[in-house]
């Protein structure tokens, strides 16, 4: 294990805990900024997509990974963000303000769910959020004056200071900036008291409230923040799909978001990014590799989702804790080499008991 000698409290507070962090994250940022030089338009668009999904996942991660509330309806916030943003910019609102306002709108819608949701747990909350997503889906269909209903609505290109943005590169930078800033803000929040309060509630509500944390208020605030971030992702996604229709934001998208953060590793910011990149990359690679397979296999209808599912099945069976869990194990292995003990992460058997008694 890397031992860090701490000489100042700030060392714990800083985002980068040691020189290694500073180096790697700077390298990551530089690579991200230089990406248009390094990859072609296809991959650039793909990375934009990964980033948008990562941002949406980050939003979901806050409620599900940090506060421990399961949401099966987060696509609804993508929808609210996307529609609100499109509506605003169609009505001549400046791009950045519109995006922020859309995020805020999504947050406010989130509040409507959050208040009753703060009293629910587990499966009931999941079902409630699903019902909510269905309501929002119905709203996007029936509030035609705003959403265009089933006919859908075109999304004007983003325009910054009167300059309209069409190219993949510019769009990528907008997405990158949005994701970067949101991530920094979330990281800030996580090292502040509120972030700790969320973790506290996830692990033990009883103990959190005995320490003076208002469980309901923290959950509601977390839901609000989560909805804001997902709404922001929704605003960006509107530009990604360029034409909104209610079908985009269905249950499948919600499930995909959940899938991403679980695969990435619950309860970490890394997890949202790992998940989005892994799942996204998996889709890309399957569709690319299919072109190299012999026609009899590669042209098989339904091959892609099948392979996708199969890989996830294997992944979850061998690594139920997600990519981040695997990453920690690898790191632990190298740091403790040659003293690594195989059983460090071994789980004992667990036994279920009915929760009907609760």
């Amino acid at each position: 294990m890397r031992v860090i000698f701490k000489t100042s409290y700030l060392q714990d507070i800083r985002l980068a805990k040691h020189g290694g962090h500073v180096f790697w994250y700077t390298l990551l940022l530089v690579t991200a900024i230089a990406a248009p030089l390094l990859v072609d338009t296809y991959w650039l668009n793909e990375v934009s997509r990964f980033l948008i999904f990562a941002l949406a996942g980050l939003g979901l991660m806050i409620v599900t990974g940090y506060t421990g509330q399961v949401s099966l309806g987060h696509a609804a916030f993508l929808a609210v963000g996307a529609y609100a943003h499109t509506y605003f910019i169609s009505h001549e609102m400046p791009f950045v303000i519109s995006l922020l306002l859309a995020a805020f709108t999504s947050g406010c819608v989130g509040l409507v769910v959050a208040v009753p949701a703060s009293r629910m747990t587990g499966l009931y909350l999941a079902i409630a959020s699903l019902a909510f997503a269905i309501i929002i889906e119905d709203m996007t269909i029936h509030w035609e004056s705003v959403t265009g209903g089933n006919r859908g609505m075109p999304v004007p290109p983003p325009s910054l200071f009167g300059y309209e943005i069409y190219s993949a590169v510019e769009f990528y930078y907008i997405v990158l900036a949005g994701v970067f800033l949101s991530t920094i803000l979330v990281l800030n929040l996580l090292r502040a008291p509120f972030g700790r309060a969320m973790l506290a509630i996830r692990d033990s509500e009883i103990s959190a409230s005995s320490l003076g944390i208002s469980v309901a208020r923290t959950k509601i605030t977390a839901f609000f923040i989560s909805a804001c971030i997902t709404g922001l992702a929704g605003g960006l996604m509107a530009h990604y799909v360029q034409y909104l229709s209610p079908e985009i934001f269905g249950i499948l998208l919600s499930i995909q978001l959940l899938l991403m953060i679980v695969v990435g590793g619950l309860g970490t910011v890394h997890g949202a990014f790992f998940g989005a990149f892994l799942v996204g990359l998996l889709e890309s690679l399957i569709s690319i590799s299919k072109d190299y397979l012999p026609g009899a296999i590669g042209n098989q209808p339904g091959l892609e989702p099948g392979l996708f599912g199969l890989i996830l099945v294997l992944f979850i069976i061998f690594e139920p804790e997600g990519v981040y869990g695997r990453w920690l194990k690898l790191r632990n292995f190298f740091e403790n080499f040659p003293f690594y003990r195989r059983n460090t992460f071994k789980r004992q058997k667990t036994y279920l008991r009915t929760d009907r008694l609760k």
Binding site: R341, T344, K349, T354, L357
Partner: protein, 257 residues
């Protein structure tokens, strides 16, 4: 000690990276009542769970009637003749008393035999026959404990593991339960391994005892030897010599002012 029913050798069990049991060796003789004393979290429950297969041991072996049962599935171990009455009276809350007992006899396909065993359980616990058709969730703590023991008696186990049978029970009930434990041992010649915080009770019925601290056995001996031990008296029986503690204040810890 004549014949050995259970032999646990050098058992080590982990919870994640934490070693909960650190090399425990113990034996239970045929028809003997043995107790494991120790404070909360010392690992007593873990030992029982490891014996009954609910937890996988890292190292060491468990032998029952001379056959290794280490790492076997818990239901196989139960079938072999070890019945575990877990801590906290884990009855099936939404099954009736009768159904609970029938579940206990799952491995017995002969209906007549089941009925016979059930009658015997009612003989030991007359209370239960009265509650025949009640769902277990509505039973009081003491009745649930009796049901849990009764369920284990539905087959004739050769070894019963009892985890904190007195937990949360009134002293009167504790007395009753221990009387029945003695009766079971005497009348059915059943070996019993009891884990108890209520050391005075446990030592009343047990012929042999082990003392467990932080996953290690620190003392073992026959009933009388343990009862005579000063440490046992002080730490597990609540008796102590006046002011022994004040004098033993071994360190002035005043680093923080």
């Amino acid at each position: 000690m004549s014949e050995t029913v259970l032999r646990v050798k050098n058992l080590e069990t982990f919870y994640g990276p934490v070693m909960a049991i650190r090399g425990v060796t113990l034996e239970v003789g045929k028809g003997q009542i043995v107790t494991i004393l120790g404070s909360n979290g010392a690992g007593k429950t873990t030992i029982l769970k490891t014996i009954s297969g609910a937890i996988e041991p890292q190292k060491g072996s468990v032998e029952f009637d001379g056959e290794a049962i280490t790492g076997m599935e818990p239901d196989k171990i139960a079938r072999a003749g070890i019945r575990h009455v877990p801590e906290g009276r884990e009855v099936f809350p939404f099954l009736t008393v009768r159904e609970n007992l029938e579940v206990g006899a799952f491995s017995e396909p002969d209906r007549k035999q089941v009925q016979h065993q059930m009658d015997r359980v009612f003989d030991f616990f007359p209370d239960l026959s009265r509650l025949y058709n009640h769902e277990a969730v509505y039973l009081s703590g003491g009745q649930q404990q009796m049901l849990a023991i009764g369920r284990a008696l539905m087959v004739q186990p050769r070894l019963m593991l009892l985890d904190e049978p007195s937990l949360g029970l009134s002293p009167l009930l504790v007395g009753q339960i221990f009387e029945i434990i003695e009766r079971l041992n005497r009348e059915l010649d059943m070996a019993i391994l009891i884990v108890e915080q209520n050391a005075s009770m446990a030592l009343k019925v047990a012929q042999f005892g082990y003392v467990l601290e932080v996953g290690r056995i620190v003392m073992e001996g026959a009933q009388q030897k343990l009862l005579d031990s000063k440490d046992i008296q002080e730490f597990y029986l609540g008796k102590k010599e006046e002011s022994a503690r004040g004098k033993r204040r071994w360190k002035q810890r005043k680093t923080w002012r």
